[in-house]
C-alpha cells in the first residue's frame, strides 16, 4: 500500500450537489502542484462527479472508497 501524505481536507458531508465539487475546487487552489487533498462527502452523485471533475481538470483521483454512505476521495493537484 502506498503511503499517501494528505495536506488538506475538505469535509463536504451533508452538502448537496454541487457543493462537494465546488468546495474541492476552491480548496485545491490553496495547495501546491503534486500535493494531496482528501474529501469526505455524502452526496451519492459525488462518485461520478469526482471522476468527471478529475478527468476534466487533470487533477488525479488517486484513491476512493466508501463506508456507510460516506464517500472518500483523495486527489492530487495537477
Amino acid at each position: 500500500m502506498t503511503l499517501l501524505s494528505v495536506t488538506t481536507w475538505v469535509d463536504a458531508r451533508g452538502l448537496s450537489c454541487p457543493m462537494p465539487i465546488v468546495k474541492t475546487a476552491q480548496a485545491i487552489k490553496t495547495i501546491a502542484s503534486g500535493d494531496l487533498i482528501e474529501v469526505l462527502a455524502t452526496d451519492p452523485g459525488s462518485v461520478k462527479d469526482f471522476a468527471a471533475w478529475s478527468r476534466t481538470t487533470g487533477n488525479d483521483l488517486v484513491e476512493q472508497s466508501s463506508d456507510g454512505g460516506v464517500y472518500r476521495f483523495v486527489l492530487r493537484r495537477k
Binding site: 451533508g14 448537496s16 457543493m19 465546488v22 476552491q26 471533475w53
Partner: protein, 137 residues
C-alpha cells in the same frame, strides 16, 4: 473547455434559480467560463432588497414540491444566492443584467445585489456567448 456556458435566466422562482445556480457552480468548478444574463423576473429576484426573500416555486411544484424543497433547505442546502457566491469565488463567472429588463422594472444598477457585475444588451450577451452553448431557464 474554453467555450463558455451561457445561461439566460428568465424565471424568478427559487427552484429555477437554484437549478441555474447549480449549473453555474458545476461549470465554474470545471474551469468553464459562465455568462449569466438576467432577464425579467429573474432580474427582479436579484434586487438587493429582495434577493433573500421567498420567491416561490414554479407552478408544477405544487404542495408536495414545496415540502421537498423546504426539506432540502432544512437539511442545510445552500440558497441559490449563496451557491452563486461560491461559484463566483472560483472565478470565470460573469453575471449581467439585461438592459431592457432594467428599463421594464425601473431599476438602477445600485438597486441590484453585488452578485451582479453589470448591465448589458443582448448584442454584448451574444458576443460573449461566442460558439458556446446557450441555455434558457
Amino acid at each position: 473547455m474554453d467555450e463558455p456556458l451561457s445561461l439566460v435566466l428568465f424565471s424568478g422562482t427559487d427552484d429555477k434559480l437554484q437549478a441555474a445556480a447549480v449549473l453555474t457552480a458545476g461549470a465554474a468548478a470545471l474551469g468553464k467560463p459562465v455568462n449569466v444574463f438576467l432577464q425579467y423576473w429573474a432580474l427582479d429576484a436579484f434586487r438587493a432588497d429582495r434577493i433573500a426573500a421567498d420567491h416561490g416555486l414554479a407552478p408544477e411544484a405544487g404542495a408536495e414540491g414545496r415540502l421537498a424543497v423546504d426539506g432540502l433547505r432544512a437539511a442545510g442546502q445552500a440558497t441559490w444566492a449563496e451557491t452563486l457566491r461560491q461559484a463566483k469565488e472560483l472565478g470565470g463567472v460573469d453575471i449581467e443584467a439585461c438592459s431592457l429588463s432594467m428599463d421594464l422594472l425601473h431599476l438602477e444598477p445600485s438597486d441590484l445585489d453585488p452578485l451582479v457585475d453589470g448591465v448589458e444588451g443582448v448584442t454584448a450577451f451574444y458576443l460573449n456567448a461566442g460558439e458556446g452553448q446557450v441555455v434558457f431557464i
